[in-house]
Amino acid sequence: MRTISLVRQLGEVLVAVGIAPLFAGWIAQCRAWLQNRTAPPLLQPYHMLHKLFQKDAALATDASSLFRSTPYVLFGTMVLAAAIIPSIATDLPFARAADAIALIGVFATARVFLSLAAMDIGTAFGSMGARREMMVGFLAEPALLMVLFNAFLLFGSTALPSLVDGYAMKRSVVDPSVLFAAVAFLMVMLAENGRIPIDNPATHLELTMIHEAMLLEYSARHLALVEWASSLKLFNYACIGFALFLPWGIATHGSDGGVSMLIAVAALAAKLVVAGAGLALIESLSAKLRLFRAPEYLAIAFLLAVLGLLVHLLLGTSANA
Amino acid sequence: MELWLVLGFPLLGMLLLALLGSRRFAAELNVTISLATLLAAALLVLRVIRHGPLLVGHEQFFIDPFNVFLVALTAFVGLTTAIFSRPYMRIEEHHGRLNPTRLRLYHSMYQLFMGAMLLALLTNNMGLLWVAMEAATLSTVLLVSLYRTRASLEAAWKYFILCGVGIAQALFGTILLYFAAEQTLGREGMTALLWTHLNAVKAHLEPRVLGLAFVFLLVGYGTKVGLAPLHNWLPDAHAEGPTPVSAVLSGLLLNVALYAVIRCKVLVEGSIGTALPGRMLMTFGLLTAVLGAFFLWRQRDIKRLFGYSSIEHMGIITFAFGLGGPIANFAALLHMTVHSLTKSSIFFTAGHASQAAGTQRTDGIRGLLGISPTIGWGLMLGSIAILGMPPFGVFASEFLILTTAMREHPWATPFLLIALGVAFAGIFSKVQPMVFGERDAPPLPHSPALVPVFVHLAMVLALGLYMPPALAEWYRAAARLIG
């Protein structure tokens, strides 16, 4: 592989790691505006991370090494995912290391580690959170897989770069099935990232927590890494969404270095801004569901994806033309 | 010459033991005579191997591939049973269920029984065959009623009446056979009842008469084979008689009766030229196997249990003979051999097991492995063998029978499957708790002689893995003979 692509890769990863908290902050700000609260400063997440890194870590007496290493594992997986997802350019050395299905695997790894760590101390809330997290996970994955199936039917590939390139090749109108898939993906994304309506990142009521309940025992640098990782996860999902549904602007395979890169970065920024606002809007418009409703919610997402599939198979010929 | 020895020793033994049967050394004498018989049989077998089939005594006696191995088998099991019965009967005496006079009766009747069966196997004369079968019945009736308890008397009585009536039917069949043969062979030289002659001219015998004759012979000898619904005497006799008798009943008498049926089947099939006799045997066989299996399911008496298992296996063998053809007949003969070896060894262990536990009820026998590993493993391995688990020989024959049936008569396989499955569940669910689990019994007063058990099982195992060429050749020849 050429050095230039390595540079790109590195650059992309750094960008991702760098602006992921910003994205989270942006969403928070939009939400605040929508609920006419005075918004926290845009860079609030960075301040928080900085502060957390300064503190002494308070660790439960019998926390095992699993508990301590989990934050690093989480961060590692998320960075790896960021490296795989073509957010700016498609020909990346890492991008070929895993297709979208494998990407689901990466997120699953992160989820399992976090849940195990949550159970490690043996507190009531920790294990409860772990259980709920895993439940949401096994409900979300089939839906996500169906979305990817859709993409595969369109472009005959599950490797994200190929998908993006595929879009670049055929400038046809959007396939009807994509609409269904997109909605399904959005719902899954909300669920997976612990947003309303499944979970509320801003809640302080332990009994309703899912994601937060697992972090109760973490503090200082560990907490910082976990938070960073989760904002990175949100960012990654957003990028997957872009790659699947709005790949315009991403520097595709053939395109040469400089200019296309700049365009790509600009495009990414624009998309993120819009997406953040959109997410905030959805979150403020919808109310949090009771936990027992979560299966129904995700079942709907699943059905939408399947519907997309069937739509494609029924109208398949015209769409492929 | 050897043939006369084979027939002579048991008769001599009967007389000797009738005189000395109550002495201390009677059991040893019994063993010795059985050993002598076995040796004579071995000589006979050697001779047949060397000179092939032979026909002696004014053609009244003969040896062909079909009966040679049955003779050997009968003599062998006779010996092992005698060996087993020595300590077994001592224990019975020790428990006060028998006294010397009864033992005398037992020993001499045992020898008479062996002699009668050998005669039935060796004779070429259908009439003599009938006489021998009747003699075997009478001797075993006395053996079954040996304990003189209500139950044993009842069992013996039923055995006597049912088999007597049956045997009477067989006599009528024989008369009809004679009648038909007379038409072609004439009365001169009394050849009209000799199987070899009948077999030679079977194509010319009047089919309708032979059809009738076969029905009577089938019902007659079939009663002794234990074909359902003529089997009712069998479980009672097995359960109430002394265990050695159960062993020889299951292991030998049923074989001999079936042997008679098959001899007749050969003639009749040759005469009427249709598959009717075969079909009859198949139907009887399936019915017997299935009914036997279902009877097994709810047994609570260990000896009844294995009595019914004998019924089931006789059904399978009969079915196989009914299938006909080289492979099925081969399998049937093999199954006869392994069944009698396995079943007798099972009865040996079952007998000692019930002695050790002081009851024949299956729920009273527990933890045999704890009481005596040899008894426990003997019973476990024996049951596994009889249930058709490889690498035991029973599986080899069932393998052939099932595969043949699957090709030739697929409709029959579900029944066989049901029979085997139910029998497996029925037997194993009883045997497992008897062998395993906690122990609760004192050791036996005399140490049991279980060498025969493991010798039998070893032979069955060997037959499952490797069959001596001579034996295989006999089986093949016999299979051809039966057609």
């Binding site: 590692g76 849940s115 009531a124 | 069959m467």
Partner: protein, 678 residues
Amino acid sequence: MSRAHQWIAAAMTPDHALRVLLILILFWVVLGAGGLLRPRTLRLVAHILFPLGAVACAGVAALAGIFLTSGHAPETMILPPGLPDLPFHLRLDPLSAFFLLLLGAAGAGISIFSAGYFRVGEGSAPALHCLQYHVFLASMAVVILANDAYLFMVAWETMALSSYFLVTSQHRIPEIRRAGFLYLLMAHVGALCILLSFGVLQGGSWQFTFDAMRGASLTPFWATTAFALALLGFGAKAGLVPLHVWLPEAHPAAPSPVSAMMSGLMLKTAIYGMLRASFDLLHVQFWQWGAAMLVLGLFSALFGAIFAAVQTDMKRLLAYSSIENVGLIFTGIGLSVLFAASHMPLFAALALTAALLHALNHALFKSLLFLATGSVLHATQQRSLGKLGGLIRRMPWVAALALVGTLAIAGLPPLNGFVSEWLLLQSFLFTPQLPHAFVNMLVPLGASVLALTVALAAYVMVKFYGIIFLGQPREANLSHAHDANKLERLGLGWLAGGCILIGVLPQLALRIAAPVTGQLLGTTVAPALSFWRIAPIAPEQASYSGLVFLAGIAGVFAVTFVLVRLIAHGRTRRTAPWDCGYPWQTARMQDTAEGFGQPIRHMFGGFFRMERDLPAADDPAPRYRIHIEDRFWRAIYQPIAHGVQRTADAVSILQGGRLSVYLLYSFLTLLVLLVFVL
């Protein structure tokens, strides 16, 4: 010495592979018998025989591996014993070699572990264990090598028998006896079905060798009958729903190494048989076969996962998870048949590769986990999840190695479980191209069921690991649990190493699976795109690299760790857990196994028969009890049992004890027959 070297060299050249394999198998039997020299003492068995057995296992695996990679032609051999016209035929071809590799690789780990595991006074005598164990191993190897129906059946039933005795080694416990009985019964009935299937397969040629069966031409009806019978027989052994009832009873009842053997290895012989029958002997003819296997497989997978999620006994949980994994394997096979029958050999090869790989992986991680439960059992005398917890602090070795197995079976990259599931999903992606309308629309849904199952498996495994090893010990006596001994660690380590190796370098596994697909389907997927990446169909379509995964995560881990150390100071305070400031936290307040089951029971209530008694509000000593039962038991098995019982009762009227009636029977029989011949 040099002679020995030459001999070994000769052995390692593939053209003697079969002979050497036989010698090794014989060696197992000899080892087993060797134990009887000193029946009651442990030393001989533990320190000599079992390790030697493990070496033999490794040898078998090595030979099979060499055979597979060298691409040598199949070897056949005929041994004198057997039936008169049917001596024992043996054959070593890629398919059998692959499963021998599986057997040897996993068997080595289990044998080493067993060397440290068996104790005196637990169940039957050590020598007996040793004998049954090695006969079990040998019979499995012979099943895989057999090339005629009779030898196959003999080995097959010997396998069932030896494993039965191992299962019931603690026969004083009634439940264990019951489990053993159920197991042997199902095994025997299944074997009869297989036997009948062979009866059909020989096609009237009366040749029971597999070569003859390959040649035999069957009508579609007979071919399908043979297939159905084989599916019944092998399905019963593999624990395919609804023939699975014996599995969750028998596997937990056995001593842990035996459970590992049964789940890890014995189930695979059923897979092998299914492949042998449907691909090799019946050369797949109808796509309906594939559809049937696909449906059964998917259902078993989901069923297994759901039931595993609600178990409260750690070994039962693993047993149900075995049902799930077997379901996944059958799904792959079914898919492969579907493609093969529709003339898409490449996709068929992909699906088959996935199935084979998953078989191998399952052998590794399921054995690993069962062995781990064995160590836990020895350390705590506890099987119930409700009485375990926090063992990661007492048994760090077992915990660490079990974590590998847990992640692997949960299908997480970069471990082996993920690879096979990824391949399976990949092969599902091509189902829309099937030429059968509706099928190609419905099958994709299968993929989602698959995804659901896989994700559920992750849930189950978090429950398994979290409740056993993490959290606070739920019982006082757990505080003095001891870690596994050296031999046990070695065994666990071997298996965990296998999981990691295949996960990181899946191309190795693809390489050894390739000859098999080549043999059965005539084509293979691309084993490896480059030394670090696999792309079974085409690189631009989908590719995966376990190596990069590991490197990436590990690299970032290291970098962040260093950076954090540099930027932030690494000071840590040890305090009591914060737990939202709740001070009276006790171990009893942790989430329990039942608690973990609750969402599943809530969502999939239809699958279970539940008996639950909830405590009253004012109960001073509240007790919550729930009993889960699967519906098949009442739906299928109890009716059968009752039917047999009723029939038996009806039949027993025949034996009414009245002589006149008996005479009447024979009289009527006589008359009927007379009318018949008249």
